[in-house]
Amino acid sequence: MTQSNRIAGGQIDRSRTFRFTFDGRTYEGHPGDTLASALLANGVRLMGRSFKYHRPRGPLSAGSEEPNALVQLRSGPRQEPNTRATVAELFDGLEATSQNAWPSLKFDAMAINDRLNTFFTAGFYYKTFMWPASFWEKVYEPIIRRAAGLGALTREEDPDEYDKGFLHCDLLVIGAGPAGLTAALTAGRAGARVILADEDFRMGGRLNAETLEVGGKAGADWAAGIVAELSAMPNVRLMPRTTVIGAFDHGIYGVVERVSDHLAVPPKGKPRQTLWRVYSRRAILAGGATERPIAFENNDRPGIMLAGALRAYANRWSVAVGDRVAVFTNNEDGLRSATDLQAKGVDVVAVIDARPGGSVLPGIRHLKGAEVIDAQGRLGLTSITIRQANGRTETIRVTALGVSGGWNPNVNITSHHRSRPVWDEAIQSFIPGPDAPHGLTAAGAAAGALSTHGALATGQAQAIAALADLGITAKAAALPNAEDAPISITPKWYAAGGKGRAWIDPQNDVTVKDVKLAQKENFTSVEHLKRYTTLGMATDQGKTGNVLGLAIMAGLTGRTIPETGTTIYRPPYTPVAMGTLAGRSRGKEFKPFRLTPSHKWAEEQGAVFVEVGMWLRTQWLPKPGETHWRQSVDREVLATRKSVGICDVTTLGKIDIQGTDAGAFLDKVYCNTFSTLAVGKCRYGLMLREDGMVFDDGTTARMGEHEYVMTTTTANAVTVFRHLEYCRQVLWPEMDVQLISTTEAWAQFSVAGPNARKLLEKLVDQDISDAAFPYMGAGSITVRGIRGRLFRISFSGELAYEIAVPTRYGDALIRALVEAGKEFDAVVYGTEALGVMRVEKGHVAGNELNGQSTALNMGLGKMVSKKKDAIGMVLSQREGMTDPNGYRLVGVKPVNPEGRLTAGSHFLEIGAAPVIENDGGWLTSKVYSPHLGCDIALGYLKAGDQKMGRRMRAVNLLAKPPTETEVEIVSPHFFDPEGERLRG
């Protein structure tokens, strides 16, 4: 088949031919074609099957409102379901397949649903699948999902890239038809920064589809001239193939640019699509209008389309959809389709005009007061049945029918902040309501100005008004001459014929019968109508069907359309691929990595890394011969306790706090006191939330009279900094406090173990003996001449220091520590060994700092000073939080050293049933202690401090069947409870 329906003229490039396939068959088209126009040129009207009834369907429209012609584009990992053939730009080698049909588009076995349509009425699911409840997810839903539906996902990873970006402008113009072009031109000439976005690949909007003249030129040529002028303006950005999908807060618009969709494969490095966030000071919606059909029996036959689409295919894409064409209209615009087609040499056999009286078109059989009441042709239209004004019915043989029930302004984006459109009696449509998003106005057909002159005039006026708001003066230019005919519409929503179904929302297979049923069952509110029938809930958001559906409901209930009301639209305006929303944030690029100063060295050693937030921390460092992580971790723990271990602790948050009120500030944010801390000393601090729960902990050092360095946990580094800034700026702005994060500025390593001092003495230039640098000391040092800091603090219970140098020297320091440590058999240990040693020592960490625990729960109740006010102090004293029988941190050991513990297990008394009433608490952290030779754990146990030595059961309720271990409740300080080692 070689483009048998191609006619003269149009805006396709006939000098080049594209070959493409649909359902495996090869066709030809030209640059400038859409997939739909190219298929129609080749005589293909059948392009899909409907959602529910699997009815044969062809395109209804020639634009993004298309409900029917949904296809899968491409194959393999690039396969994309639910693509509208009417906007899919043709390219050489395009591969398209039909969807929702089996075994073939022409013979679809699931079309049996169409025969069973009396079962599948509105509310079918709600009435049929009510019981048993257990069947819903396991039986009913899978069946429904298989039977209904659209395209299929490939389940392969999308090989293309998607990008995101940010644009700024004075004026965003949405739509490049006559109104949008005029608005952009007016603003551009005034020097404003303008973005003009249009979803089409050719700017000009309806002018490309019309034969009307603007300023004495063909409309399309006038548009091309304006686009050329705009292109030359440095302050104007033209964005074709770009859809504004939503209006968000403060003048921000979501905008999807289809960068490479019109190519088989994106050029190397280029994204497939870009999601722009446009920050606009003002915006004009010039998105045009969408034609709506008139409902009649079998009005979904392939070949029946909107009258404006029929002439768009002829005028822009040089396609006569049928050789014998009729038009069914209730307004003046529908007549243009008949005259344009006739001018193109197409046989227009009849115009069925629902309006009575008035003049008739010359040279065409123009039937006034008539209506189409049925259509025939299962896989494609063959004839229509009409009823004339005198009641006489007649069957007319046609292969295409254009239907025009009027035009709905594209108000969608104006509704995104819940503005309700208002009814305009003159054009029988909803127009934007008065409370559209701030800064957004509408122009042209989107505002209800349906003539070309109206578009030009309102486009210019709205641009001048918008810029005036911004203090920019734009001049009104003389408008080119353009048609200004009224649409002269007489309402006609439904042409009743026999008992068959008449479609309102073709994508979701909602018919007039469904609306009638909804009315009968009292779902008469538009919101109920929508949910009960699924009207407007398909991927097209009911762009062609909504007004028709509610108008029919209005008729059934005897109310006016304004009384009936309308549902509103939400973003996105048209469907957006998930990949576009994800952008580059996927796989390994989901979030950035943060690397520690010792990362390079650790990588060389074959370290195993663990993600801690965005940090990659060394989890353990396997040595040759070690085949299990426990071997590495046990070795690291034992070596540290025996001699010395080194661990990169740079990830802990570090906040520099200065100012004359720094000490008083810390007294307010920590529950214990810091203003009395001596210069050159550290103290462990506990930070509470306002509700009295523990927020974070860490060590803070006083480096000078008005200078502290706070350490936070790795996980809460940012949260604590934000909290402190809030306290400083909002709670106590009178305090003299300055904050800055220094987490990244210093490479910091813990050096722990009996030989920690000996090791450091080889590197530190100053005296760090116990006398010169006692326990909890802090101060500036030099490390082989490099400025550094030293803190004598311990998380492991050993004699330990944290040594810091500017981060650039971090790699050198870890290497120097390892080298200097050789004589002591020093090890570098990771987060697992760190975890083992802190559990052995009974220190709380993330599992215990769970946001639901108090200082009292953690055995740290005495730290909450009552002598001063601090955040959380008062509320930590609430009844219930001071319950003497509440949770307390305890240590847990298996009675049998071979017994295994599992974190998350619950405490139960011996013999107690595993029910919630008997729950005593839970194991928070569990490790294997190579020092004790058995599993040990920390846990929160009710009245735990009163149960030392008690035997209980630790029950893992998640195991199937539950497992349990008999345990002994002990002090959480498993190792060196007197702390002699760390003071050594």
């Binding site: 940010f166 990244e744 001449g785």
Partner: protein, 187 residues
């Protein structure tokens, strides 16, 4: 004294590297000493006087100002980041403290950041893919905090095709990757 410790750039090299990506040139800077300078409460006038005497520019909000040896950009009310040549001001805090005394809180920031010089004929196409800064609308000398690749950054506009970008040091590689990827898509 034993041998001095060697230093690595934020990207993990002994010398800073320059990367060409698409139409852009991305050069890591390793010669900038950086410190935060915040006026203590009620000492704003003292800070202004001291800054003038020491030759430290204190530009207004969202501005960077050049000087010798110090340049500075505004980061918050009463707070600036001061830049100086690393070779002469490695311990930048030690240089600034005597000038400002107890009128300001000064904290070393040199190694908290990776610093990139980014240049191209026109940087708007790159930056609009990275952050929500209105780069074309910003004057030369514009300085702002922004977010690139989920990380807080400082961006200083030196010209339409010249930017200095400070990003968190630990995610320097990820930031460079984001810059290179965006730049490559412009080719």
């Amino acid at each position: 004294m034993a041998e001095t410790l060697h230093s690595l750039t934020a990207l993990g090299h002994s010398e800073p590297e320059t990367h060409a990506a698409g139409p852009c040139r991305i050069a890591e800077r390793f010669d900038v000493a950086l410190a935060s300078l915040a006026a203590r409460k009620g000492r704003e006038a003292d800070v202004e006087r001291a800054a003038k005497a020491a030759g430290v520019p204190l530009p207004g909000p969202a501005r960077w100002k050049d000087g010798a040896p110090y340049a500075a950009f505004w980061v918050a009310p009463g707070m600036w980041f001061v830049e100086a040549p690393f070779a002469s001001h490695e311990d930048i805090v030690a240089h600034l403290k005597p000038a400002f005394g107890d009128a300001a809180s000064i904290t070393e920031q040199t190694d908290a950041w990776v610093c990139f010089d980014i240049s191209a004929a026109e940087l708007s196409p790159l930056l609009e893919r990275l952050c929500n800064v209105d780069f074309p609308g910003a004057p030369d000398g514009f300085a702002t905090r922004t977010v690139i690749e989920h990380s807080g950054c400082y961006l200083v506009k030196r010209g339409p095709g010249q930017v200095v970008l400070y990003g968190s040091r630990s995610s320097a590689r990820s930031l460079l990757h984001a810059l290179e990827t965006a730049a490559a898509s412009l080719a």
